[in-house]
Amino acid sequence: MTLQTILPLNLEALKSLSQQKNEPAWLTENRLKALELASKLELPKPEKTKIDKWDLSDYGTYQAPVKVATLDELPPLISALVEGNESDNLIVQKDSGAIFSSLSDELKAQGVIFTDLETAAREHEELVKPYLTTVVAPDEHQLTALNAAMWNGGAFLYVPKNVEVNIPVQAIFLTENAGATFAPRILVVADTNSSVTYVDNYISSGDDVRVHNGVVEIVAKAGAKVRYATVHQFGGSTTDMSYRRAITENDASIEWIIGEMNDGNTVTDTATVLKGNGSTSDAKIIAVGSGSQRLNYTTKAVHFGKDTTSQMITRAVMRESANAIINGITKIEHGATRSNGEQTEKVLMLSPKARGDANPILLIDEDDVMAGHAASVGQVNPEQVHYLMSRGITRPEAERLIIYGFLAPVVSDIPLERLQTRLQELVERKLGQ
């Protein structure tokens, strides 16, 4: 039986939209194929979370972005996130497309490309086409297919061979008008022995229900070092479905730093395919759930290359009646000798109604490897609260110290100071302090 999904738009509309945007023919073709796939594919099945009951139909329609020429014209929500010279290398998307984009002369001179993905597809076909939709394949499930069909705005970052970019480049994605399709797609290509840090923020305003269907693709060529930091802080009316994947070639490394600070329901899936020998992946995820949020976070490392190393840490604090399912999957393929995969998932529950579920999974098809996992779900330890209180610290302050302490070992390991502070602030906001 073929499944017929009601799609947010039809082939004709998608085709004319793509043409209207002057997209190259290969891209239009690419999108149409993906849309066809979407009609046949089912929704993903995140472990223990029934998303078929979620309203994932509210994609809205494409609404052409209105570009701004200077920073001053950016909405305050966005300019608040930009400090000092961060605007030198910045992409801003509002609703269906990019409204601002800048790249410093210095980085331009080094051959770095940083622009919205739509522009990149038109202007840098040779760098976009070989990678686009290869890391997160449209045929994974209906959502990846839909993003491949409908993506808009987005970001493209290319770092040439041997180029080391020393300051983080930043992108901000804002959904304001719930009636506008919001489906950014990020593509990062770090060429041989290059290094770069990319930081982005996802924010929303307004109370109308909507969906963010986002995809991130990262290609780290031999010896490249990519650090990808992302903070999601959508409001309660936005459902966040985000799929992030990196592929590492020989001796490449990827570092994920992820702040899951949404107020709405969320499914995120962050994976590294360690293809090349000697490559490494490190993922740090900090999450806070509140209200009646349903959350599902997956981290995954798939080892193909020999001597590959992966490390995944998720720390989540759940308050009120938030519910989090946290999955960690370490997969070591046959032939990935001397590989090492470690993962830890920890959930701290602050109320009797909060729920946390940690599911560490090791799938090992090779003998000569090391792998380990640790998972724990618990409440604030009353002995610890007592100890702190016995020194005169009030109960709320004692609990605050313990909660922050729970996240601290991961937060304090974040190599970007500004991001650390921002995460700290967001954690405080989410904890209602």
């Binding site: 702190l388 016995s390 020194r391 005169g392 610290i393 109960r395 313990i402 302490g405 996240l407 601290a408």
Partner: protein
């Protein structure tokens, strides 16, 4: 006003089992009282009940510090009123650095807006750590996490030095300490000794009392103070053990709940 700490008829239960069976003890600032007694006779229970550990329920009796009803107070209020307990088994708290913890504890005693300045705090902390021969790195380590037994005890004393309590209870502060550390900890206590401050020292060994001379020594058995005396009592217990006390009092099994 010199500190006055009075315990009268204190009874406490844990899981509905009565452990403390009527403790009477009166202490004044400047005095050092030692509590000795075999294992399982209620010494730590007394300390925990005084501090307000939620596991223990006080069923009878009163405790006052300078006339104020201690038992009415929350744990943190007791601490701010001047009570301090160096615990037999201090908690480990990952993610909270020792210095953040100490600063929070100091600031909890100060009004909002009058918090201790960072510089002053660091100076005080580092000064006290030096006195205790603690490596400066312990300020940045997570609270008690991975500390050795002796290091934890030293860290308890560090807190005592910085918080300047009125009534200090030390529960087996000497266990796990090497000879040098024992002297250092004893020096810390002696330095803190003054007219306003009372000490209740729970110990098994005369060793500690060689360095900190108590004014009174009490023996606990079966959840009560069964004998009190001066420093010579501790010396005799060290030399002869508890059998003579039991014999004198007609006790066969000294642990809680074993009375005839």
């Amino acid at each position: 006003m010199a500190t006055n700490f009075v315990i009268e008829g204190l009874k406490a239960t844990i899981d509905n089992k009565e452990i403390l069976k009527g403790i009477n003890l009166s202490m004044k600032g400047g005095e050092i009282h030692a509590i000795m007694g075999p294992n399982g006779t209620g010494k730590s229970t007394l300390a925990s009940a005084l501090m307000g550990h939620p596991k223990y329920e006080v069923t009878e009796g009163t405790v006052t510090l300078d006339g104020e009803d201690v038992l009415e107070m929350e744990v943190d209020e007791r601490a701010r009123a001047g009570l301090f307990l160096a615990m037999q088994y201090p908690s480990e708290i990952t993610g909270v650095t020792n210095s953040d913890f100490l600063r929070s504890a100091i600031n909890a005693r100060r009004e909002e807006g009058k918090e201790i300045s960072l510089i002053k705090f660091i100076r005080q902390m580092e000064g006290s750590m030096k006195e205790l021969d603690m490596n400066a790195e312990f300020a940045h380590r997570y609270l008690n996490e991975g500390f050795s037994g002796g290091e934890k005890k030293r860290n308890e004393i560090l807190q005592m030095l910085l918080l300047e309590p009125k009534l200090v209870i030390l529960d087996e502060i000497d266990s796990g300490l090497d000879i040098d550390a024992l002297k250092i900890v004893a020096n810390g206590v002696n330095k803190m000794r003054n007219e306003d401050r009372g000490f209740l020292i729970i110990t098994h060994y005369q060793r500690l009392l060689d360095y900190i001379t108590p004014d009174y020594v009490h023996v606990m058995m079966q959840g009560r103070i069964v004998k009190s005396g001066g420093p010579e009592l501790a010396a005799r217990l060290e030399a002869e053990g508890y059998d003579w006390v039991k014999e004198e009092l007609g006790i066969t099994d000294e642990t809680v709940g074993q009375e005839a």
